[in-house]
């Protein structure tokens, strides 16, 4: 148990280290000078002014220091929650930019991941070994998981948004609103959240349903299920047990899928102009704002790591086998 966690922590620590290092490394070996593009954007005509600005920004971003120094500074700054200053959104600190976007992204990802997981698993479990459902739910599930996130998102935006006019297609809340905690505002938030949520939810749903369906079939064929049916236990009980055991691999699956789901969320956000990290990343890419890109990347890595860690803990809580130290090797 202790070992399980220390091992996990080691992996997380290592992952983080690697991620941070790669993250720091890549932009510094890439062509293109962010300061140059920043200066170019200012559209200053006089060469002298340009030089002055360039020197000023180089100094500001610390590009004039030796590389190792920059690397060390990077770590140091990071631990103080300082991800640098965004180039695209100069002079906003990256952390401020991210802070503004994170609630939206989390508000989108957390419910869609959890709900699709819960509902998908239930669906899959329910459909397994029931011919009629199996033949209807599953094909739909396959189609859903095979859909590119953004395709579904755009279709939804078009059909339910532009054509039917049921939902707004852009923004986190009405442009006529100012944030406050009134009911109108919350409803408005939900209204804007629905479509992006739905597109994430639907794609993920199919995957979980199929996974669960296959998993539970194995479980229903397992020895303990056979034993229970030999003792005449009702199918309900057997299914319940099978479900619980089939859910365990799905929990690990959740951890594995998180990265993918986050990616899906990013694309979806872009389609719906949802003011989360996705749109931010897109802009950061388009504007070659690598401080922002690094910041968001780190944020995502951290988020995924933390989520993974939570999942690990949950896993230990629900699966007695891990606690007995047997599943250690699976970790």
């Amino acid at each position: 148990m202790r070992r399980y966690f220390s091992r996990k922590l080691l992996i997380y620590g290592l992952t983080f280290f690697v991620a941070v290092t790669v993250n720091w490394l890549i932009p510094r070996f890439m062509p293109g000078d962010p300061v140059a593009s920043m200066v170019a954007r200012a559209n200053v005509a006089q060469p002298e002014a340009v030089e002055a600005m360039r020197a000023y920004y180089n100094d500001l971003f610390g590009f004039d220091q030796p590389l190792w120094q920059q690397y060390v500074n990077f770590w140091g700054a990071m631990f103080q929650g300082d991800f640098g200053i965004s180039i695209w959104l100069f002079p906003t600190p990256v952390s401020t930019v991210i802070n503004g976007a994170v609630p939206y992204t989390l508000g989108l990802i957390v419910p869609s991941v959890l709900l699709s997981w819960v509902v998908g698993n239930r669906f899959g479990a329910y459909a397994a070994r029931r011919k009629l459902l199996d033949n209807t739910v599953l094909p739909v599930g396959y189609v859903l998981t095979a859909m590119p996130y953004m395709w579904l998102a755009v279709l939804l935006a078009w059909a339910l948004g532009v054509i039917a006019g049921l939902f707004p297609v852009a923004g986190g809340y009405s442009f006529s609103m100012r944030p406050n905690w009134s009911w109108t505002f919350v409803l408005d938030l939900l209204h804007h959240w629905t479509l992006p949520f739905l597109s994430l939810f639907l794609v993920a749903l199919g995957g979980w349903a199929i996974g669960m369906r296959n998993m539970i079939i194995y479980e229903l064929e397992s020895d303990y299920s056979n034993y229970l049916s030999a003792l005449g236990a009702p199918a309900r009980l057997i299914r319940r047990y099978a479900f619980r055991n089939a859910v365990l691999p799905q929990i690990t699956g959740l951890a594995l899928q998180l990265g993918v789901l986050v990616a899906g969320a990013l694309v979806t956000e872009i389609v719906f102009a949802y003011p989360g990290l996705g749109s931010l990343i897109l802009k950061a890419i388009q504007n070659q704002d690598f401080f922002l890109l690094q910041g968001t990347f780190l944020f995502i890595v951290l988020g995924v790591l933390i989520a993974n860690f939570i999942i690990d803990i949950v896993y230990v809580v629900v699966d007695p086998r891990t606690r007995a130290g047997m599943a250690g090797a699976q970790a």
């Binding site: 034993y227 009702p234 007695p320 007995a324």
Partner: protein, 313 residues
């Protein structure tokens, strides 16, 4: 008579055709009787056990019937069988090591199982039975993986007999255990009959010596058919069927040495059950087979309670 099986035929559906795993079994089992079932691997022992309680998807009840305590068991009807399971017929599976839901504590599992069958848990009774097989009570608050193989085996025994079934089927419950655990488990089974937790029992194994220790009657099967059935001692001491004889002859005893006495196996191998030959199925390997063996030998009661299916016996 608690159990009467007559002309039972159970086949497996396979790609190549039907495997006639049970091809006309007829036998009876009295109240309080323990029937040891032996025979070469693949002769249909497990199939018989499964037929009596739960057939799997590939098994087909082709003919014959099973009567338990005067009521016919609807063995071909999975739903109808449910009423009988656990209460009338119960099972200790071969796979006892993995028969317990790994993610439930035992107490909870037992409670839920019983409740689902409309019974309440009598904790005192449960603990008494656990004591009887030498299981400490704390076991109930553990997960199955926290138990050793023998403990799981015994826990399954306790669970399977909680509703005092009339017939208990124990399929190779000891073959994975080492001798000392095996002994304890076998003893416990006997104890269950003594305490009346079960009325009668079918004990499937390929260890004749072990069967001899706990069974009242031994039934020998060969290729989906009954070959001989008699009180345990009679089978061991005075077997009538050539197959039984040869099987016993090939059993080494502790202390028997090759140098002293060379034992011999039965030459040849059992027929395929896909398309078994007509007549006595042991004919091809039988040293004394004659022309009459081309006909199916009837099961004859040669001595009281001693049934043999052989023309030459």
């Amino acid at each position: 008579m608690s159990l009467q099986v007559s002309e039972l035929k159970v086949y497996y559906k396979t790609l190549k055709g039907e495997v006639r795993a049970l091809d006309g079994m007829t036998f009876e089992l009295g109240d309080g009787e323990i029937l040891g079932l032996v025979g070469e691997s693949g002769c249909g022992k497990s199939t018989l056990g499964k037929s009596l309680i739960r057939m799997d998807g590939r098994m087909r009840h082709v003919g014959g019937m099973v009567v338990l305590d005067g009521r016919e068991l609807p063995i071909g009807d999975d739903r109808a069988m449910n009423d009988f399971r656990f209460r009338e017929v119960s099972l200790i599976p071969q796979y006892a090591m993995s028969a317990l839901n790994p993610t439930r504590k035992l107490r909870r599992m037992v409670t839920e199982l019983l409740r689902s069958r409309g019974a309440e848990v009598d904790t005192a009774e449960l603990e008494r039975r656990m004591d009887q097989v030498g299981l400490p009570r704390e076991v109930l608050d553990r997960y199955p993986i926290e138990l050793s193989g023998g403990m799981k085996q015994r826990m399954v025994m306790v669970i399977s007999t909680l509703l005092d079934p009339s017939l208990l089927i124990a399929d190779e419950v000891t073959s994975a255990l080492d001798v000392s655990t095996q002994k304890a488990v076998a003893r416990a089974l006997l104890g269950f009959r003594e305490s009346g937790y079960v009325k009668s029992m079918i004990f499937v194994t390929h260890d004749i010596a072990l069967t001899h220790h706990i069974a009242d009657t031994i039934m020998v099967m060969y290729a989906g058919r009954l070959t001989e059935k008699a009180p345990a001692d009679a089978i061991v001491k005075a077997p009538r069927h050539p197959y039984t004889k040869m099987l016993l002859d090939s059993l080494p005893e502790v202390g028997v040495r090759h140098a002293d006495r060379r034992l011999e196996g039965i030459p040849g191998s059992p027929p395929s059950l896909l398309d078994p030959p007509a007549g006595c199925r042991f004919r091809a390997r039988c040293p004394i087979a004659g022309d009459e063996c081309a006909q199916d030998p009837p099961v004859a009661e040669l001595a009281p309670d001693h049934h043999v299916a052989c023309w030459k016996a």
